[in-house]
């Protein structure tokens, strides 16, 4: 098949520059909108997926369901876990990877007198937390001693503060008591990054719940059979310690349940993606119709001199895709510069907008797809007429 020269299509775009620029602008905005919504969906999904470690299991209160902040279990549970389940838990020297934790959501004030109290999530932890939560690590300072706490990398975003306000050495007011920031931690891609971590016992005292814990997390031995390990956990919680009203699950299951909880929100976001894409397709079809409408005679003449319909169709497709690809490139560049990694405060935490490979693939695919969709109906219209009739068309 003999194709039309590449620059034929390019020149056609330049024949009506204002129209081409406006179409490119419209498509750029559409692709940017798509990427904006996709970055939100992927950021939320990624943070929920990454937050769960497949080697980690957790035991919490049966009554708390998905709200771990409501969970209250006996402070003796970690001891029971160490003694009865120790054989299936990863050991570091003599230390088992077991982390008793206490979760509490409360308000926090900074030094600044003008600032309104903010809602924050606190986790009481012991140093063993880093044995279990493998993604978490200290980026500055030291593990908190009495009256000190660690600040997550996204905690400032969660509170709507500047990072400097949560710098090392700064003090925070929590329920009337002053705490000093001893360090900062990161746990890339997880919801943990929006939290404050304080010494377990001290936080429990402060929250007036000295005798209970929220949950115990521990790292299961990867060599063992996962099925058997989960059966053993079931036995531990449902039969051996039925009176403690405990429930056990893999940490990934807990975050999967949160993902199910957010499914309607994600569904709404996906609906927005589809609606934005439909409006973009309308714009692209419009432009290509106009590009074809005035050139029916031209296409007939090209056919008369030997170019096949397919070749002309390819040239039309090239015009449309070129414009859409340019718009997609600009939109993707802008989105990467403006959106990637931006921290978004969300319920019970914060996460970073994520333009990962999937978001980029869908966004760019949709952008280029709009170009293809835009070219097909007008091309169909252009070749509907026989050459002899088309040559007489005005």
């Amino acid at each position: 098949m003999k194709l039309l020269p590449w620059d034929y299509g390019v020149r056609n775009l330049l024949r009506r520059p204002l129209r081409s620029v406006l179409t490119a602008l419209g498509l750029t905005l559409v692709v940017f909108l798509l990427l904006l919504v996709l970055s939100f969906v992927r950021g939320l999904d990624t943070s929920l997926t990454n937050s769960g470690d497949e080697q980690v299991a957790m035991i919490s209160s049966l009554a708390a369901a998905e709200n771990l902040e409501n969970s209250s279990i006996s402070e003796h549970v970690p001891t029971l876990i160490r003694s009865e389940l120790g054989s299936m838990i990863v050991k570091h020297g003599d230390t088992l990877s077991v982390s008793p934790e206490f979760l509490s959501s409360t308000t926090l004030n900074t030094d600044a007198a003008t600032r309104v109290a903010q809602l924050a999530l606190f986790r009481g932890v012991e140093p063993e937390v880093f044995l279990v939560r493998r993604r978490a690590y200290l980026t500055a300072g030291h593990f908190p001693k009495a009256g000190e706490l660690l600040v997550g990398r996204l905690a400032a975003a969660k509170l709507g503060m500047r990072a400097e306000e949560l710098a090392l050495g700064k003090t925070l007011q929590i329920e009337g008591k002053t705490w000093k920031i001893s360090g900062q931690f990161a746990a890339p891609g997880t919801l943990l990054e929006a939290e404050f971590w304080a010494p377990l016992d001290e936080l429990k005292q402060q929250m007036k719940r000295p005798n209970d814990l929220s949950l115990v997390v521990f790292r299961l031995n990867p060599q063992g059979s996962r099925r058997e390990q989960l059966d053993e956990l079931e036995l531990f919680t449902r039969y051996r310690h039925r009176d403690l009203e405990l429930t056990a699950s893999a940490e990934t299951e807990y975050y999967a349940s949160l993902q199910r909880h957010y499914a309607p929100v994600r569904g709404l976001a996906w609906l927005m993606v589809v609606l934005v894409a439909v409006s973009g397709a309308c714009g692209a079809v419009n432009t290509m119709y106009a590009a074809v409408a005035g050139r029916i005679r031209e296409f007939a003449a090209l056919q008369a001199v030997g170019f096949s319909r397919r070749a002309i169709g390819v040239s039309l497709l090239q015009e449309s895709v070129l414009l859409a690809a340019l718009a997609t490139l600009i939109a993707t560049g802008a989105a990467l510069a403006l959106l990637q990694g931006v921290a978004v405060r969300f319920t019970m935490g914060a996460f970073a907008l994520q333009l990962d490979h999937l978001a980029l693939l869908i966004g760019c695919g949709a952008g280029v797809g709009l170009g293809i969709v835009g070219a097909i109906p007008p091309a169909w219209r252009a070749f509907r007429l026989p050459i002899s009739v088309a040559l007489k068309a005005v």
Binding site: T23, L29, L33, G160, V276, T347
Partner: protein, 382 residues
């Protein structure tokens, strides 16, 4: 200008695909714009500080999640009732199916039924209030919006979050947030054991004051009175301030959707402008002929502007109308920490959307209309 309407319609009809694509694209984008604006409207209505109200919320100090605010009952109830200026007190036990942001939050408010009838202006749409008052083993009144969303019917049981209630009525309220609640008996949620005489725990107290102008002063007195007498301290705020804090985690996301709406309107502008430019370019000769037979440049400008306006407004009407229909058919609520924000598609919102469509239509038609009006007749005829 109306006598030229048939000419404009004929032009639009002559380019059916272009017209349909432009109107369709505009409608979809205006639907999206109206949708994101409706949640902003719901947020504004819920938290508007300019609307003075006579309700204070007494919550456990420093806490914001309903599940962690535990205020003794009835000892605090008695203490608050005695504060001067307090007209009525409603102890409330809040149970929510999930504290996190959700499009399907169900919030139970356990209240003493006799006091509910006294302090709330509930309009019962179905069922009977006395049946609710008498049904102590889980009788419930369900808000209209929740009933529509969940298909709840009077006389049938309704279960969620481990609680099963018997629906005795469906109510409407002048407060949009209340129409997403389930009211049930306080004792049903507290479940006191026979012979139990110690304090139980409610989530909050709703205080009605005699003089709204004194609400802030009364709030301070309530907190001080509790501080003087009890160990668990409280924080008392006007109801809207309480709402603002409970949903503060969502304010950023909702603010974020405002930008989405603005970009949507921008894309509508580009879409309509592009379409009008195409129309103008296609009809260069036609406009020159019109000018030759005596049509002024201003008339041509008016025709182009009208075409742009018509397309944009039609798209706007379809999009905004679609959004109103959608939210009427499927009412939506975004909940967080037991507080619900309704997606409110009010007449004011529809008027604002239509105004914006009109503005976009005018703006999009200005440049192509101006160009068409000022085109040189001779060169255009060629």
């Amino acid at each position: 200008m109306f006598r030229f309407l048939p000419y404009i319609l004929k032009n639009l009809h002559g380019h059916r695909v272009r017209t349909l694509m432009t109107i369709g694209g505009t409608a979809v984008l205006m639907l999206l714009f109206s949708f994101v604006s409706s949640i902003q409207e719901g947020l504004r209505k819920l938290t508007d500080p300019s609307e003075r109200d006579d309700r204070l919320i007494v919550f456990q100090a420093y806490r914001f999640c309903p599940s962690v605010s535990l205020l003794p009952y009835p000892s605090y109830d008695d203490a608050i009732q005695k504060v001067e200026g307090v007209r009525d007190v409603l102890p409330i036990k809040v149970v929510v199916n999930n504290c996190r942001a959700s499009l399907d939050t169900v919030v139970f408010h356990g209240v003493p039924p006799d006091r509910l009838a006294r302090v709330r202006k509930l309009q019962l749409l179905q069922g009977r209030l006395d049946a609710f008052v008498q049904r102590k083993d889980g009788g419930a009144l369900v808000g209209r919006k929740l009933a529509e969303r969940r298909g709840i019917q009077v006389g049938k049981p309704f279960s969620i979050a481990g609680i099963t209630v018997q629906v005795e009525g469906i109510f409407a309220s002048d407060q949009p947030a209340e129409e997403s609640l389930v009211y049930t008996h306080l004792n049903f949620l507290l479940n006191p054991q026979p012979g139990h005489h110690q304090d139980l725990h409610v989530t909050m107290y709703e205080v009605h004051v005699s003089d709204p102008a004194r609400a802030d002063a009364i709030a301070k007195v309530v907190d001080q009175r509790i501080r003087d007498k009890f160990t668990v301290h409280t924080e008392t705020r006007p109801q809207k301030a309480y709402f603002r804090q409970a949903i503060s985690d969502l304010v950023e996301i909702i603010g974020f959707t405002r930008w989405l709406g603005i970009v949507c309107v921008g894309v509508v502008g580009v879409l309509v402008a592009n379409s009008v430019i195409m129309a103008a370019q296609d009809r260069v000769k036609e406009h020159a002929v019109l000018q030759t037979i005596g049509y002024s440049g201003a008339r041509i400008f008016g025709l182009m502007l009208s075409e742009s306006l018509l397309v944009s407004v039609l798209g706007g009407v379809l999009g905004i109308g679609g959004c109103l229909l959608w939210l009427w058919w499927k009412p939506m609520t975004l909940g967080n920490e037991g507080v619900s924000i309704d997606f409110l598609a009010s007449p004011a919102l529809a008027a604002w959307g239509l105004g914006l469509s009109t503005l976009v239509g005018v703006a999009a038609g200005l440049v192509p209309g101006w160009q068409a009006a000022r085109a040189d007749i001779v060169s255009s005829l060629r």
